[in-house]
Amino acid sequence: MSARFNLGTFDLMILLALMRLGDAAYGVPISREIEETSGRVVALATLYATLTRLEKNGLVSSRLGEPTAERGGRAKRYFRVTAKGLREVRDAQRVFTSLWNGIPTLKGGVV
């Protein structure tokens, strides 16, 4: 059995953004997706550092696209969630949902 990976909030946000974007997931849209949904400003270098860590742990995979002129002749790196990554997201969802169920409804910022 492979070792469990402890997903942080930012890791989970990235994995969910990858799942929402599908085949078009590379640095710029991923950061935009997270910024638009969470309101959190994302530094691309931090995003890449996290994606590299997730890739090393087998949660995402990547491939290089074709170089384009609007990017100064540089290729895009597309990312997708692997089966292991998907399992981790499902586990996180299960844990969060079960924890959430035990809490009374949040109203006006207080429990």
Binding site: Y26, V28, L44, A45, T46
Partner: protein, 274 residues
């Protein structure tokens, strides 16, 4: 005014920081064209430097701290204050120029007075010799490769020893010429041996740190140690020497750092690459 091209200096810095991560450079380029904000671009680049070069930055700061700690310890038997006073008085004379070139570590006669310069000099000499050797004896059967690392270390320690003895003699002579200046309390063989051992130990420890940095592939060890020494030197000099001296010291060290860095990229300078 902003244009479609991001700031060149920031891009230059980014490319060096991200080590061939072209996708990130391309992403920042693409996003810059949409946002057209130099501030945003610079912030992203500085974050990239902090994320990708955090180990190097911490390491340089650590070595600077080591230099600053070492600068508190002078060679036993030497009193640095009269020498520094003499250097301040000698502005515009050959000794004044020497004091600028030597920097605060040498004038303070500290443990790291010689810095990593003997190692840099030895590496350049040995690598030049090795290249010439390979060029002269082209037949691989006849050629025996030069043991670059061992020879560089031996030469560096020899250079260090020679410079330490030279410094000890210089200090003794300065005391003898200027009778009012008590730079060396008890001149003689013991003082020379103490200076030799102290300065060689200081430089050898810097060489060990430099080699470990390079072996662990954190960066160019020789370059990082040299830069840390310069930063520590400038920080000690600020507010004490005249601005021209500080600028000259910094410019000279930047030039040497450039040679070391260039040599590393071309794989000719650092001995540990062999």
């Amino acid at each position: 005014m902003t244009d479609m091209w991001p700031p060149a200096l920031a891009t230059w810095l980014l490319k060096r920081a991200v080590r061939g991560n072209d996708a990130l450079v391309g992403d920042l380029f693409e996003e810059y064209r949409r946002r057209c904000s130099r501030v945003w671009y610079w912030r992203q680049v500085l974050t990239a430097v902090a994320v990708n070069r955090s180990r190097e930055t911490l390491l340089v700061l650590g070595i600077v701290a080591l230099f600053l700690m070492g600068s508190r310890f002078s060679v036993p038997g030497a009193h640095a204050d009269p020498l520094a006073l003499q250097a301040r008085r000698a502005v515009g004379t050959p000794f004044g120029l020497f004091s600028v070139l030597a920097g605060p570590q040498l004038l303070g006669v500290t443990v790291f007075a010689l810095g990593i310069m003997p190692y840099v000099s030895a590496a350049l000499v040995v690598q030049t010799f090795a290249l010439t050797w390979r060029f002269l004896i082209r037949n691989p059967r006849r050629r025996r490769d030069v043991p670059v690392v061992a020879v560089t270390w031996c030469l560096a320690i020899l250079l260090c020893g020679a410079q330490a003895i030279g410094l000890a003699l210089f200090l003794e002579r300065s005391s003898a010429i200027n009778e009012g200046l008590q730079i060396v309390a008890n001149p003689g063989v013991m003082f020379r041996i103490t200076t030799l051992l102290t300065l060689t130990t200081g430089t050898t420890s810097l060489m060990l740190i430099s080699d470990q940095i390079s072996k662990r592939q954190i960066g160019n060890g020789m370059f990082l140690v040299f830069v840390a020494g310069t930063v520590a030197g400038v920080s000690r000099t600020l507010g004490q020497a005249d601005p021209f001296a500080v600028l000259t010291y910094a410019a000279l060290h930047v030039a040497v750092a450039g040679v070391v860095s260039h040599g590393y990229r071309r794989a000719i300078a650092p001995a540990q690459l062999a």
